[in-house]
Amino acid sequence: MTEQKKSILVVDDEQNVCEGVKEVLEGGGYIVTMATSGQAAVELVKQEPVDVVLLDLIMPGMDGADTCAAIKKMRPDTAVVAISGSPSGERLNRFFENGGVDIYLYKPFGREELLQGVEKVLSGDYLKV
């Protein structure tokens, strides 16, 4: 493992998703915090910056796009990985253009896909997608 662990915030209104991501990424050597709403996520990032935010797009209250925008506004260096169960071209594009989402992971995904996605966004390789 690297000397300084990367910090990752997972935001999803589905508790199991948060738990699953946390379990897998911690197993992968990352420091993982969780939030089950957009507001909570923004608060956490405000208190302490993270390297990567895994952000569910469709959530009650503040949705993924707004959350992403708020986070990017505060911490532009934060990488955002969108995670969603049913993306459409239109909404996906809006995220990429306005929300500052860097890469996208389709639900449901497994351990391998998650780790690959995070590694990809941290290595800055995602622009090629």
Binding site: Q15, V17, G85, S86, P87, P108, G110, R111
Partner: protein, 735 residues
Amino acid sequence: MAMKRKKRAKRSGATSGRTKKDRVSKKSKRAAELRAFKKQAGVRLKKDLKKLQGATPKENRDAVQALRMYQAELEMQNEELRSIQEELEASRDRYADLYECAPVGYLTLSRKGMIEAANLTLCRQLGYDRSALLKKPLSRFVHREDQDIYFRHFRQMLKSRKGRTCELRLRTKGGALVWAFLECVVERDRKGSVSRARVSVSDITEHKRDEVALSEREAEQQMLLKSMANAFVIFDSVFDDEGRFTSYRFVYINDAYERITGVKNDDVCGKTVHEVWPETEPEWIKRYGEVAVTGRTQHFELYHDPTKKLYDCTVYRPYPTPERFCVVFEDITERVEAERALQESEETYRTIFDAASDAIVVHDAESGAILDANAQACELYGYSVDELKHMSVGDVSSGEPGYTEQDAKRLIGRTADGAPQTFEWHSKDHSGRCFWSEVALKSALIRGRDCILAIVRDITERKAAEERLRRYSEELQEMVEARTRELDTTRAELFQAAKLASLGRMGAGIAHQLNSPLCGAMLLIDALLEREIAASEREHLQRVRKGLTAMRDIIEAMLSLAMVHRRGGMAWEEIDLRTVIANILGVTEADRDARRIALHLHFPDAFPAMTAFPGEIDQAFMNLINNAIDAMPEGGTLTIEGAAEEGHLIIRVADTGRGIAPEHREYLFDPFFTTRVTEGGLGLGLALTHQIVTKYKGEISVESELGRGTIFTVRLPLSETDEPMEAIPQGGEER
């Protein structure tokens, strides 16, 4: 005295002719004379004999002597008389001949007009016997119409007591009429009044006939001259002292001349032309003078101002001398005017004819011969008018079947019968170029002749345009048909797509609901599997994890129907269908085994890879194979064959199951069409397969027989997939 008596007797005898009867009466007369003479002599003798009674012998002798001498003298006298008589008879016969056989008829009329004597010639002239004429009035033999002439003539003769002549017609015994010239001389008695008339009768019938004929001919000639249609004039030349022809004088003008000039024969005859028309042009004097002097006939047209007319004149000199000449006139003012008008009309016609923008050819209605053509026609055909006039309609036709001279004449004939024709004609010009023309035929009466007007228009360009239009129209129609076919296909596809899209939207909703819990479960299990756990637990977890993956695939399939490919579809990959099939067979192995389904797999060693989005092709064949297995619940044989031909990959999936009812085949590829509702069939499998195969521009077909099995054949193009396809297809939308 005796001679005198005899002469008289002869004269009276002459009147009675020399018939036998006449001779008999003459003899008896003479015998009577002789008896008288003898009686006288006897008386004298008795006297003398009385003297002798008592005479001396001497005296007797002397007396006898004297008697003898007397006797001799008498005998001599008798002889002389006899010779005189003979002479007289000869003379009488001569005169009788002259009288009887004279070349003219003679007759003697009594004071009362009775015929007393007539010669033989007259008898012959009238055809009667002399006896039929004698003692008859001459008037009986005069023609009824000439009775007046005769009686007037006869009366005047009696009155004047002089000879007269007259002409009248006598009627012959046969009824014929004879023109006779009667010349009478009168015989007067002692008192001087007419006792009888001697008349000679000459037959002048021939002469009369000639005379009548002559006068008739003269009258006829006069009439002809007078009434002839042309004006006719006889002029006398007028010369001056030096012998120059200076004027002319009217001698005779006929009716036509009077009519034309308005002068009257009685007014102008004897006058010179200058007296009648002082303004007569010198040219007239000059022309007439030439004819009068030279005698050479002249013919000319000359205007005469006094009568304001134009004349056609023939001047000639009938006699060898210059004194007189004749002129035949014809008033040609109107004719020349008419000719001029005709010419003007002709020029006007020509101008209009040539100004027409269409070519016009005039044909004879009967023969079809070309009579005239306008300037446009000459330009169109490349001939002059004169050339066209010597050509037939066939010479300006292409002569191809339907466009021959006979065809043209038939059309002209129909038009002449009263049915105007309009048609397209294949014409030919001077250079031999054939071209299309539109011809309108109409009948017309030109200069009193039945003609057909052919109005010809070159429609080469129009024809070409029509042809272009026709081709364009055909192309367009083909395009429309092709496009219609495409549209039909597209519409069918759209209909299908619409159904799938609604399914996709529903699927997307379900996916959203399921994907997050599924994701949490998968991550948690994956996390668990990373830990140190018992082998049995690991096996269970792995089985659950597999089930979760299957669930994910189902959701994915539903999204696929909505053409929402999210996963693994971001890049093209080379796919070996053999591997794809093998993977599917591996997944379905348990099911096949459970149903005791035998497998036959036939693929060639060299089987090209195709380019596709991973997952889609898997999905297509997974559905076919699952269907085949489901069709054989009681077992059977699954046969999968692959072939590569002509740029296509062909995969055949065959089962020996229950087969598909014919009425179901139509709906086979429709979403949610299933015959296995009770077995949990969603009816999405074949719809999805069809969707995917179609997307790759492939084809899928089915053969099936109830109770025998079904064969699905998928035909996928290799080349089509070389072109990149949409990485992210449009379709359903998240809701």
